[in-house]
Symmetry: C2
Subunit: 344 residues, 2 copies
């Protein structure tokens, strides 16, 4: 591997410059991605190894990132479980028949990811061949809570009322659903590792809507199951937003590195997580909309708070927004490298 910064930082080893990658570093903010999307739907790209590999590689060619992340969608495992969905323009994912009752949970199917999600695993092999060790490749799955919320709400939600109503009203059914999702996610993630990813991130993007007690009761044991399945095979990152109160619980569930959003200063977050784990984050994605002076000064602030401690992976607190100028993303990655190198 030519660039080991990211993997070394995940292991809290010293690095020459802070490694950086971005959630949604492949996506709508790039002209070459938008061009491809005029010909192909999002799901077509995810299900065609050549296209998924091409999109995964697009940011590697233009942006100074220290890792690639497989272009795919969190919800892919839902379809072979019996929960088909599609993307509605401007509204995000929409499930055909969301889970509405405990009986719907018992009708879910199990599946073999090596068969049902073979295109994703093939894309991993294609990407690794193309990357040829230039940067490591990150694989990912959704955590059970976030997957369950899509399965129950049928799409994005502002209050997660249906999700929590099922969780509180039918706790056994909730745990059955979460076990199914965790088992599927764990098997899928292990298959990604066997196909060749160098690190994995578990996205629990919406888990910040849970109270601390609810996280502990309804989410933690299921997420832990995925980390346990991965074991020490590759470095693991555990990501969520709005998690200031439950950082200790996220750590308990697992992850060599805990991802934090911009709502909490990174040094405060790291103290709460514990200094024996790495930390990833935590620039507000809206800062990339400009001006660049503010973007750079926020990087300075994050690097100063980290103070050169090994174990920091630079990232945004959530994904790059579609209206972000690509030049700002390029300048940001360069700046993280040069400023952190200067500080060493």
């Amino acid at each position: 591997m030519a660039n080991l910064r990211f993997l070394e930082a995940c292991r809290r080893q010293p690095v020459d410059a802070t490694p950086v990658w971005f959630m949604r570093q492949a996506g709508r903010y790039m002209a070459e991605y938008r061009a491809l999307r005029e010909e192909h739907s999002l799901l077509e790209i995810c299900r065609t190894p050549e296209l998924a590999a091409e999109v995964t590689l697009q940011p590697i060619r233009r942006i100074e990132v220290d890792a690639a992340i497989l272009f795919s969608d969190l919800l892919l495992p839902l379809e072979p479980m019996g929960l088909p969905f599609d993307f509605v323009k401007g509204e995000g994912p929409q499930l055909e028949r969301p889970i509405g009752s405990p009986a719907d949970i018992d009708r879910l199917r199990t599946f073999e990811p090596r068969a049902a999600l073979a295109p994703v695993l093939d894309a991993i092999k294609l990407v690794q061949r193309e990357l040829a060790g230039r940067v490591p490749l990150i694989g990912f799955v959704g955590a059970p809570f976030t997957l369950a919320s899509y399965a129950i709400e049928g799409g994005h939600s502002s209050n997660f009322a249906r999700t929590k109503a099922l969780m509180y009203g039918h706790p056994e059914a909730w745990h059955r659903l979460s076990e199914r999702l965790a088992a599927a996610a764990a098997e899928y993630l292990v298959a990604q590792i066997e196909a060749g990813v160098d690190a994995v991130q578990i996205f629990d993007s919406w888990v910040g809507v849970l109270s601390q007690a609810d996280y502990r009761e309804f989410a933690l044991p299921h997420t832990r199951r995925i980390f346990d399945a991965v074991g020490r095979r590759v470095p693991t990152i555990h990501f969520g937003t709005g998690t200031a109160v439950i950082l200790g619980e996220l750590r308990e569930a697992g992850g060599d590195v805990i991802g934090v959003d911009w709502r909490i200063p990174i040094d405060v977050a790291w103290e709460r997580i514990g200094l024996d784990r790495g930390v990833q984050g935590n620039l507000d994605p809206t800062v990339l909309l400009g001006p660049t002076e503010r973007m750079f000064s926020q990087v300075d602030d994050i690097l100063a708070r980290v103070g050169g401690r090994p174990g920091h992976v630079f990232n945004l607190g959530h994904g790059i927004l579609p209206m972000t100028p690509v030049e700002h993303v390029q300048m940001l990655a360069q700046y993280v490298h040069s400023a952190s190198r200067r500080a060493r």
Copy 2:
């Protein structure tokens, strides 16, 4: 005043039982409200003193709450500033011409709330006549950040990208807009107090999307201006969601009582706020969807964490959801009273 519990708790005085009221205690979860909405739009109700007063009083007749809150909408001051809006079924508020540039801010108008918002002030007088001192009446305004986000996004937003882009890209324009909104909100709130409300709440519902540094730079000084304008006239409550990291800053901006959502245990929140202020909250509104045993045990947990310390106002962490059974709201209010009385 027959029932002083709420006002006494706001002043951190001992009370016989924990006072309780609910955000959106008047609203779609009540059949009598839905019946009225078949005849009248939301804005018609807000702009017709008799109807606004009637809706304000509906929960007082059926639920054991210790305060009424004026039925109105946060966005009402936007229209006389030159930002008309309406409510689109299922999608919430939608502005006709959201603020898109600094020039739009300079075109905003000032207004005299005693004229432009006279129906609201008349509703206050009608409600107070009907209540005849049974329970106190709470007035409210939106905080500058939350009002500005609606003015810029044109409605609800998931990432507040347009709001933050203006904030970062045109900070002087942002501060001009916030000053205008703060001045309007302050004058409107003082007019509500003169019309007879007994306490006020400042809603900064979406401020939890700001980092601590951004809150301090872009929101705090403007919100403080409203609290300064109210002074010691009536007890003040400062409410936001997702505020675990910025509770100290909310306190600094003002409020006798700081409202907290369910994401942070109430005792942890109170320590961060400081024990020389009151605290309001903090049950997750989805817990009211049932089962009631869980609802009661969560009340027990909140009361145990408060431990009888004077200065706690029971409330939800955000508004009552439309699908909430009215019986659960009734049982919740009764339970808060009986359980907290037993604990004394």
